[in-house]
């Protein structure tokens, strides 16, 4: 997956001209966006719990060094292994090593965005290991050879007819487009994979430092299968996904499920605290926890953006974002999409590279209101734009959009010099008569302003300015 301004524009155009996609995202947002807001209202502590949770997340982030040390100690005490991975390559290599040591030929995966971030699947495949996504939506997009387009509803862009055809082609079953039938087909196909897999790989929604558990939620049960049946389980977590203790876990889990799917709780919540113990019949013989940095310490070191590490990747912000609603997930061209992606992707892959992402959002604030931990995404979007406007050494940002900056300079000079301002506008009011009009609107502006009028008309300047009217009524 690559992201750049051109792909972004093309992806957006493609999504906007696809009526089925538009309808399914709208439908998803109508259900989940509204449902989530109601679900916060129904919290027994009231919606203010989000603010408490924000404080809790930030306190965990501020104590990350201690909490990570405590977590690692606990996991080892419980018989698991912990590996701290500096970057994507280190995490991928560790997984490959574990796979090789255990003679792994088939891997089943629980849905996880972090494995998309480090691009794990292609590495496993090229090491000759069959890698099967087991979340139904992920399974579908993997079969179709596409990236997921939503963090919790990866196949939101597919309609049942596509899926029916896909199954006929790839699994050789009789065509059906009935969702129950299709689910049953996938259930059977994946059941064999689960039972014969040697290794399970999952993400980690949250880790509890006090007890040393990786906590994972799912509705389908694929996470339970992945963490129970294979001989080896590897869980990969972003280093920030940690809570101090069981009490914080209670609040975070409840908020996560509300933010993600407007549910009070997802069907399954698994607390994984190490490998099978003697005398137990199931569970993996080995449990590995991989803690990933991959650019996160850099974010941690900048208090402007540290807040984004509080994100628990619930995808709640996608379900209300007017930009995501129109352009869908693929346009973002990265593992993390929507408002959270517009902040995280530039920070992880370079602000200049991701400039279109933070500029594409509208700053409407819907994401902040929908966020279970009340992250101020709009503030961080603006901060990113500021870095782009002025450049930044810490982030190695080259100033971008000099023309805009020059224009703003002229503007600020004008508005602080009223006589000049007045003269300039009176001149413009005269010149504008030369422009093509339709009704009482300007149809086209001359370059470089013509991009503005490419898709809209513009209101002409009034003959007598507001200031003059006030002064000489």
């Amino acid at each position: 997956m690559t992201h750049n301004p051109e792909n972004y524009r093309q992806g957006a155009r493609r999504a906007i001209s696809n009526p089925t996609l538009q309808a399914s995202i709208a439908n998803l947002q109508e259900r989940l966006g509204k449902g989530t807001a109601e679900a916060y209202q129904r919290l027994k502590e009231g919606p203010a719990l989000r603010l408490k949770a924000h404080e809790m997340r930030m306190s965990a982030i501020d104590n990350l060094d201690g909490l990570l040390r405590q977590l690692a100690g606990k996991v080892r005490e419980n018989g698991g292994s912990v590996y701290f991975a500096k970057d994507a390559a280190a995490a991928v290599n560790y997984c490959l090593e574990v796979a090789e040591k255990n003679g792994v030929r088939r891997v089943v995966k629980g849905k996880s965005m972090i494995t998309e971030e480090i691009n794990l699947n292609p590495a496993l495949e090229s090491a000759g290991i069959e890698t099967v996504e087991t979340d139904l939506g992920e399974y579908l997009v993997q079969m179709a050879g596409e990236p997921p387009s939503h963090m919790i509803a990866p196949a939101i862009h597919k309609i049942r007819r596509d899926i029916g055809r896909l199954f006929t082609e790839k699994l050789g079953v009789t065509y059906t487009e009935n969702p129950s039938e299709l689910t049953r087909i996938a259930r059977r196909a994946l059941r064999d994979k689960f039972i014969s897999a040697d290794m399970g790989i999952t993400g980690c929604n949250l880790a509890c430092a006090e007890t040393g558990h990786a906590v994972l939620v799912s509705n389908e049960g694929n996470i339970r299968m992945t963490t129970t049946l294979p001989r080896v389980h590897v869980a990969i977590m972003g280093m920030e996904r940690i809570v101090a203790n069981l009490f914080d876990l209670d609040i975070m889990i409840r908020l996560l499920c509300r933010g993600a799917a407007a549910q009070k709780i997802s069907t399954y919540v698994s607390h994984i605290g190490g490998p099978r113990a003697p005398g137990q019949l199931d569970g993996p013989d080995a449990f590995h926890l991989v803690v990933l940095d991959n650019g996160r310490t850099k974010i941690l070191g900048d208090t402007t953006f540290r807040e984004i590490l509080g994100c628990i990747r619930c995808a709640g912000c996608l379900n209300v974002c007017p930009v995501y609603r129109k352009i869908g997930g693929h346009a973002y061209g990265a593992a993390y999409v929507g408002p959270v992606g517009a902040v995280v992707t530039p920070l992880l892959t370079g602000i200049n590279n991701g400039r279109h992402l933070c500029r594409g959002e509208t700053l409407c604030g819907a994401c902040k209101a929908a966020c279970p931990v009340d992250l101020d995404i709009p503030r961080m979007l603006v901060a990113l734009r500021e870095k782009l406007a002025y450049g930044d050494e810490h982030w190695q940002v080259k100033p971008d959009g000099m023309a805009e900056r020059a224009a703003m300079g002229i503007w600020s000079f004008l508005v602080t010099h009223p006589p000049l301002y007045d003269a300039a506008f009176r001149t413009c009011a005269h010149i504008q008569r030369l422009l093509p009009m339709e009704g009482n609107m300007i149809r086209r502006l001359p370059p470089p302003f013509n991009t503005w009028t490419r898709k809209r008309d513009m209101m002409p300047l009034a003959d007598i300015s507001f200031t003059r009217k006030i002064r000489n009524p």
């Binding site: 306190s59 040390r69 139904l136 299709l182 389908e220 069907t267 005398g279 019949l281």
Partner: protein
């Protein structure tokens, strides 16, 4: 190697947080003043009377249908067994031609005398094998054999540690004799428990777990699972379908008056 990695990793984190590298400060787990809440939640759960449990049962009765969880209250072990048998009789085998049942070894389930009842229905019942001694571990073959049985079973019967009335959540902890696949692989999951195992919500549960954990008990175990209703998916055009990977039906049987 791993050691070194970890130290470097953590010192990078410390630097980013603006702390000195050799900060000898002992770790303080941030506690945002919840200790009192834990205490009061625990007190509440300890002082519950019959009437309180009935009130919880009423809450559960409203929550259960929302997540498609079946709940049956019975007054005696005999009644509970009949209720279970009625459902087992109706069940259709999904993963084999023959209807089979697998169950935990658990005192409450023993009281139900499932063996005799199931043999009358001509349905085989498989329990997990017993480890010869506490230190004795199972061989791979033994584990695999039980896995195969559970994967073919129509019904899996467990005994929940707790049920949270507010969400209809069953809490199942991993212990010897209580394999977690029994609640996962069979097509139908049945769980038994007594009234006094009802709790109100997650806050009460985590408070109890916290408290026990801090007393040094292995309370969360190496795999604790919350189950709230049957497995489900909405990945195809947002249509809700039950039985994605886990059981397509879950039913809870609660014994009253104990």
């Amino acid at each position: 190697m791993a050691e070194h990695n970890e130290q470097q990793f953590l010192s990078r984190v410390r630097r980013a947080l603006g702390r000195s590298n050799r900060s000898g400060k002992p770790l303080t787990t941030p506690d945002l003043g919840f200790t009192d809440q834990i205490r009061s939640a625990i007190k509440r759960t300890r002082n519950r009377q019959d009437a309180d449990f009935s009130a919880l049962a009423d809450i559960l009765k409203t929550a259960a249908p929302e997540i498609n969880l079946g709940v049956e209250f019975t007054d005696t072990a005999d009644r509970m067994r009949s209720a279970m048998m009625a459902r087992i009789e109706q069940a259709d085998p999904e993963w084999g031609d023959k209807k089979t049942v697998t169950a935990w070894r658990h005192p409450l389930l023993e009281r139900l005398e499932l063996d005799a009842a199931l043999s009358r229905l001509n349905v085989p019942l498989y329990y997990p094998p017993v480890a010869v001694s506490a230190a004795d571990d199972f061989s791979n073959a033994e584990c695999d054999e039980f896995k195969t049985r559970a994967a073919k079973a129509t019904v899996g019967i467990t005994a929940a540690d707790f049920c949270l009335a507010d969400t209809g959540t069953l809490v199942l902890r991993n212990r010897p004799d209580h394999p977690r696949i029994v609640s996962l692989l069979p097509s139908i999951h049945m769980a038994a428990m007594t009234m006094n195992q009802l709790l109100l919500d997650f806050t009460e549960l985590y408070a109890i777990l916290s408290d026990e954990f801090r007393q040094g008990m292995d309370t969360v175990t190496n795999a604790m699972t919350f189950v709230s209703g049957p497995s489900k998916t909405a990945d195809i055009e947002a249509t809700l379908v039950h039985g994605a990977h886990g059981p397509r039906q879950v039913c809870l049987f609660i014994l009253r008056g104990e």
